[in-house]
């Protein structure tokens, strides 16, 4: 069937924050990334950040493409290296507000070492980690967050490995704000972003997000809607939950909420000026 209808783009409340000349984006129908990015941008708007001093940094992968759609100073860097790049940028100019927006594979696999060290140093930045349990950009391979028995193109008979419990990982490393929400919890997500942006130090929000194209299709939730329903009806809010209880297992409830909200010494040191 031949169609020549061109979508008219514009008039969206977030246009001010988007490079509309780069739309439509590359994300699949049913993907949760638009929801997470929307919540991030609304949170930036709500917190009244100086947009000229707000920077978005992404690594590689589906989530990594976010930086390219945002009309701020934005960096799309190497796979896994968004955090150390962000660390250098923040230390060079402490006046910048840094938001790292990247995926579970980027942040927790290839960038895993940087993740724990950025949390340990408590570098002042907000990290949005979109967890879709799979490598989407490369076509659906096993990741460090794929649940046990989860099927992917490289674990066709089910994942034999235990996945990371990301809140426990970054919490143990020293992150001072740690939360987990899903794309079915848009208000809570947005509020968490607002809180995280307001905090000084390393804040980390894991966002459980559907990837119907790969994870859902291979794990009996073939549409984004099915995955969203699952998150809607199988999530349990437990603020301050024991980090040990946050493992994610197939067909089991997902514990969400704000788990850590503490204060401690962070980098760059208070009073640090540009280049100091």
């Amino acid at each position: 069937m031949k169609t020549d209808i061109k979508a008219e783009i514009g008039g969206h409340p977030l246009d001010e924050f988007l490079r509309t000349d780069r739309l439509p984006h590359i994300w699949c129908p049913g993907c949760g990334l638009g929801t997470v990015l929307g919540a991030t941008l609304r949170a930036i708007d709500r917190t009244g950040l100086d947009l000229d001093r707000t920077v978005i940094i992404s690594g590689i992968g589906c989530t990594g493409r976010a930086a390219g759609y945002v009309k701020l100073d934005s960096f799309h860097v190497t796979h896994g290296r968004a955090l150390p790049f962000a660390t250098g940028l923040k230390l060079a100019n402490p006046e910048l507000k840094i938001i790292v927006f990247s995926g579970d594979g980027d942040l927790a696999a290839i960038g895993g070492n940087h993740l724990i060290h950025a949390a340990r140093r408590n570098v002042d930045m907000t990290v949005v980690c979109v967890n879709n349990f799979i490598y989407g950009m490369t076509g659906g391979q096993l990741g460090p967050t794929t649940p046990e028995k989860g099927r992917t193109t490289t674990s066709r008979s089910g994942n034999a490995e235990k996945p990371f419990n990301l809140p426990r990982l970054v919490g143990a490393a020293g992150a001072q704000y740690v939360a987990r929400w899903t794309t079915a919890h848009v208000w809570q997500l947005e509020r968490a972003f607002v809180e995280a942006i307001d905090r000084k130090g390393f804040s980390f929000i894991e966002v459980i997000s559907p990837c119907p194209t790969y994870f859902g299709r291979m794990n009996e939730m073939a549409t984004g809607l099915e995955q969203m329903r699952y998150y809607r009806y199988n999530s349990v809010v437990k603020h301050g939950a024991n980090l040990d209880d946050l493992d994610i297992e197939l067909n089991k409830p997902i514990v969400i909420g704000k788990f850590i909200d503490a204060r401690r010494v962070y980098l760059p040191a208070q009073g640090a000026a540009r280049g100091k």
Binding site: V55, I57, V70, S74, F75, H76, P84, G88, L91, K276
Partner: protein, 383 residues
């Protein structure tokens, strides 16, 4: 009144310490690194000296992170560097590639030790020279400098920063353990006597700024984060807006410019030091510590009545192809001592184009050449 943290005068410094002082004199105010002998003293010196000069030192979790942090700092508007040795240099290749692609000024020091792998910690080597040129994936050109003394480490570190700002790329200082750990007199000129190249800033309003519109010399002006330009840059092949452009045409346009901005400006970058090349039958072509050892061998050869010249590569990349080709027409042979099994010798041979033979004097690393070995090679080449 000297600027805060600045020193000037005469000092007894190691190559590593001279490197740190050169960086500070060049305006470097950010260092991210990971300990590795024989470059550790650069990090140690920077951790002391940078805060005095109002800068930041951070020890990262590895060299992948170090290089990424250096790029981040540079985009924050601060001159930035890192220093490492072979094993760390290998890890840095990933983000050196990003630095090339984003066109990010910064300096990377490789105090070479013998490899492969962990190799000889920590004895001298010069076997990262081709890695410096080709080590990151994809097509690009690079600038690498090779000092022969602690004084020259100081001078070339300053120059490396200037070149990195002029051409917007990571510039490599390819030194080696023998120079890094060598103590000699180093003269640090007063600040006003050191010429610094400022960053090429955009001269258009933010809304008109496109990150990759080049000037006539193929180098674009660079905005930094936080100044309202709201730019996007990516390691993906991109167009002049900095937007990903997934086509062969965009690739052709971008990669040609990344290479040509160095190759078409070769004359501004290439630096050699020559001694007695006119009328020579044999020219020894070397760099770094090996050029110093070569000078001893040349002196002995001249004492035997031989006509031997020295061509020292101060900038090793881009390679002075035209100069070597010119010399090749008038000499019998090039003798190339280097602490590897033949790297820059391949370039000399290529440049000589069959007009003169190339005699490699290899050393597998762990020590510098015995001058007699080089002298023997000179005699063989002359025979």
């Amino acid at each position: 009144m000297p600027e805060k943290g600045r020193i000037s005068g005469e000092f007894f410094l190691s190559g590593d310490e001279a490197c740190a002082e050169g960086a500070i004199a060049a305006g470097c105010r950010f260092f991210a690194g990971y300990p590795i002998t024989p470059a550790t003293e650069i990090a140690e010196t920077m951790s002391e000296r940078l805060p005095e000069a109002g800068g930041t030192y951070i020890q990262m979790e590895d060299e992948l992170g170090s290089m990424a942090a250096v790029l981040g700092a540079s985009w924050g508007g601060v001159k930035a560097m890192t220093a490492t040795s072979g094993p760390g240099f290998s890890l840095m290749m990933e983000n050196i590639g990003l630095g090339i692609m984003l066109e990010t000024p910064c300096v990377v020091v490789d105090m070479q030790r013998a490899g492969p792998s962990t190799g000889l910690p920590t004895l001298v080597g010069q076997a990262d020279m081709m890695q410096a040129r080709w080590g990151s994936h994809g097509s690009y050109s690079i600038i690498a400098l090779s000092p022969s003394s602690p004084q020259e480490v100081f001078d070339l570190t300053v120059k490396a920063f200037n070149l990195s700002e002029q051409f917007r790329l990571p510039v490599l200082l390819m030194s080696e353990e023998a120079i890094g750990h060598m103590y000699e007199k180093v003269t640090v000129p007063p600040a006003e006597a050191i010429k610094l190249t400022p960053r090429r800033r955009p001269n258009v309003p933010p809304q008109e700024y496109l990150p990759y519109v080049p000037d006539d010399d193929l180098v674009p002006a660079m905005a930094v984060a936080g100044e309202g330009y709201r730019f996007h840059v990516t390691g993906l092949t991109h167009d002049e807006r900095g937007y990903p452009a997934n086509t062969a045409e965009a690739q052709d346009r971008l990669v040609r410019r990344l290479v040509d901005k160095i190759e078409k400006n070769r004359d501004k970058i290439i630096e050699t030091a020559e001694d007695g090349i006119d009328g020579a039958d044999i020219v020894v072509c070397s760099y770094g510590i090996s050029a110093r050892v070569s000078a001893i061998a040349i002196e002995r050869a001249r004492a035997l009545g031989m006509k031997v010249g020295l061509l020292r590569l101060v900038a090793v990349w881009p390679f002075p192809t035209e100069k070597i080709r010119q010399i090749a027409a008038n000499v019998k042979a090039f003798v190339v001592p280097e602490i590897n099994y033949g790297q820059m010798a391949l370039e000399v041979e290529r440049a000589a184009c069959g007009q003169a033979k190339t005699v490699l004097v290899p050393h597998m690393g762990g020590a510098v050449h015995n001058p007699e070995t080089i002298l023997d090679a000179i005699k063989r080449a002359a025979a």
